[in-house]
């Protein structure tokens, strides 16, 4: 029979060779260099980027986190991304991936199924999310008990295809998320349009509800940045109406009808949508200040609202963000 020779791995892993050599030092020497942050430190250096199968370090000294696995005595990357280190925990953050939910995240989703006491919500995750009847506010008071007739009327509140904004409440055993809308900020969405961007572009912020004030349309524009990469851009409402103060229409929260939106309001909404699209296409993380600044730029240059010409977009990116996409 034939025999298969094992060929020694060619040294294509200059990175790992570098890193490992520092770990082959004596323990006392290692202790002395505990402050060595540059090793896997922050900053967009070339050494921080790994691809699958690349040896990061020894598993004897470091623990493996997300995006890595242990083979023999090495911590090996399983995704493409940047190395992140917290003390002895090494993880690799993928540059592109599906949304990975955490409790407390604000997400935007779409109802795909009405089931017994629950809705199934498509929220850009690995699995559909679940919204229990017991974790929504029903019209007629926050403290109202849910009765059997509510379960029968579930489709009147939220039907298939409806969009809603919710918060991640907990996880089921298999990792599916359970949502809740028990706040006046959350609930059904209307008067606007949805757009989907890569989830990595949305950072966890203090607030994900942003209001861009009136030069942008007659009542301003509201932007909700869902952490799952869904963004809701809608015609602006006043502060009180948004947070359940004076003039808050508690019966209208499950309404399917859009308000009357003047053409200027629609134009402002689509302008903001287009701006977000331009920024997202270039892989720039979205923040409220960035969106507002880019709108102000449009305003200052007195460009027409609505769609934005390609060369204007280039100019805006260069002036606001400081990147050159023509290169």
């Amino acid at each position: 029979m034939f025999s298969v020779k094992t060929i020694l791995p060619t040294s294509t892993q200059s990175f790992s060779d570098d890193i490992l050599s520092t770990h082959r030092r004596h323990q006392a020497e290692l202790d002395a260099m505990d402050l060595d942050e540059d090793e896997f430190g922050a900053g967009p250096s070339k050494r921080n980027i790994v691809t699958p199968g690349e040896v990061i370090t020894s598993s004897k000294e470091y623990m493996r986190g997300h995006g890595t696995y242990v083979e023999d005595v090495n911590v090996v990357s399983s995704v493409t991304g940047t190395i992140e280190r917290v003390n002895k925990l090494i993880s690799v953050k993928a540059i592109r991936s599906k949304y990975v939910p955490e409790v407390g995240d604000l997400v935007i989703g779409r109802i795909v199924e009405v089931g017994p006491q629950r809705w199934r919500v498509e929220a850009n995750g690995r699995q559909d999310a679940v919204l229990m009847l017991s974790s929504v506010n029903l019209p007629g008071g926050v403290q109202r008990r849910k009765i059997e007739s509510d379960a029968l009327k579930m489709r009147e509140f939220l039907a298939e295809g409806d969009l809603l904004v919710a918060e991640v409440q907990a996880f089921f055993g298999d990792g599916a998320m359970s949502l809740h809308t028990r706040s006046l900020k959350y609930g059904k969405l209307r008067n606007g349009q949805l757009l989907s961007v890569p989830p990595q572009l949305i950072r966890r912020l203090k607030s994900h509800f942003h209001h861009i004030p009136p030069p942008c349309g007659p009542t301003g524009v509201d932007v909700i940045l869902g952490l799952n990469g869904y963004v809701w851009v809608s015609n602006g409402t006043s502060q009180e109406k948004r947070e359940g103060g004076e003039g808050f229409d508690s019966e209208g929260v499950y309404s399917d009808k859009n308000d009357d939106i003047p053409p200027e309001g629609r134009q402002a909404t689509s302008t903001i949508t287009n701006l977000i699209k331009i920024l997202a296409d270039e892989g720039i993380p979205l923040t409220d200040t960035l969106i507002e600044e880019s709108f102000n730029w449009i305003n200052q240059n007195q460009l027409p609202l609505g769609s934005i010409a390609h060369n204007d977009a280039e100019r805006m990116l260069a002036e606001i963000v400081g990147i050159d996409i023509t290169a």
Binding site: P44, P52, Y69, V79, T80, R96, R126, L290, E293
Partner: protein
């Protein structure tokens, strides 16, 4: 020896497309070529072009298929109607050969994708052959590796694949369609870091004495492909990381504006 109309190796030791025996066809790797897929890539090897898009991990389309502890992998293979040129695949979808290619891709990647991280979900690998000139399976495997990497799904290692033919006593790398028709050939795919072979497929017979040589040659070629892929992936990643870090510029811009006001 062969009933071929073409000359496999001429007197100068060149193949019909003027390559040397161990020379690969010109390759190009592109990442993120599909607008809505989680990850995608287009790989061209010679006149064969394959686009692969990855959808998922997502809720399984048929919930009965779902597995409670791991993701299921679906592979769909399609050939565009104009791809055939010298391809030899008559039907666009559902062809037995295409189904076989799909099964091979699934078997190649099932042990490499860390499916246990994605329970109760489905990963769909959509392979679209845009032009066919031999080596559809190796090119598809190479493209799938890149698409998986760009989708952020956890995999153990790069998998690269190549076809190796044998002419008399001379092994040839990366066969074109004409050579594939005339020569006994072997398709291998391997994990390049650990030298593990995940697929070795042979539909014709060849002498066992030649097999080892071909296998080692194939492994060598797979490593070359991996180096090329890694270059592209790193280059792309650096660009994206750079863009993700423009935040610092923005905040300094913003504070500058506040002072002006």
């Amino acid at each position: 020896m062969s009933s071929s109309r073409i000359e496999i190796l001429n007197d100068g030791g060149l193949r019909h497309d003027a390559r040397r025996p161990y020379e690969l066809r010109s390759t190009s790797f592109q990442l993120n070529t599909h607008p809505t897929a989680e990850g995608s890539s287009t790989v061209t090897q010679g006149l064969t072009t394959v686009q692969v898009s990855i959808f998922g991990p997502r809720e399984p389309r048929q919930r009965s298929q779902a597995s409670h502890d791991k993701a299921i992998i679906n592979v769909e293979v399609g050939v565009v109607p104009w791809a055939q040129g010298g391809g030899g695949i008559k039907r666009v979808r559902g062809d037995k050969r295409l189904q076989e290619i799909g099964a091979s891709i699934r078997q190649t990647f099932e042990p490499v994708i860390m499916t246990h991280l994605y329970p109760r979900s489905e990963i769909t690998i959509n392979v679209q052959v845009l032009s066919a000139d031999g080596g559809i399976l190796p090119t598809s495997i190479n493209a799938t590796t890149l698409a998986l990497i760009s989708s952020g799904i956890s995999i153990l290692d790069y998998i690269t694949s190549i076809s190796i033919g044998l002419y008399l006593k001379q092994p040839l790398l990366d066969l074109s369609f004409l050579e594939e028709q005339d020569l006994p050939n072997l398709i291998i795919s391997c994990l390049t870091n650990s030298n593990k072979i995940t697929l070795a497929q042979m539909e014709t017979r060849l002498h066992i004495d030649r097999f080892e040589e071909m296998l080692n040659l194939g492994l060598e070629a797979c490593k070359v492909l991996k180096i090329e892929m890694e270059l592209i992936v790193k280059e792309q990643t650096e660009k994206i990381v750079e863009r993700m870090n423009v935040k610092s510029i923005i905040s300094s811009n913003a504070s500058g504006m506040n002072i002006d006001e």
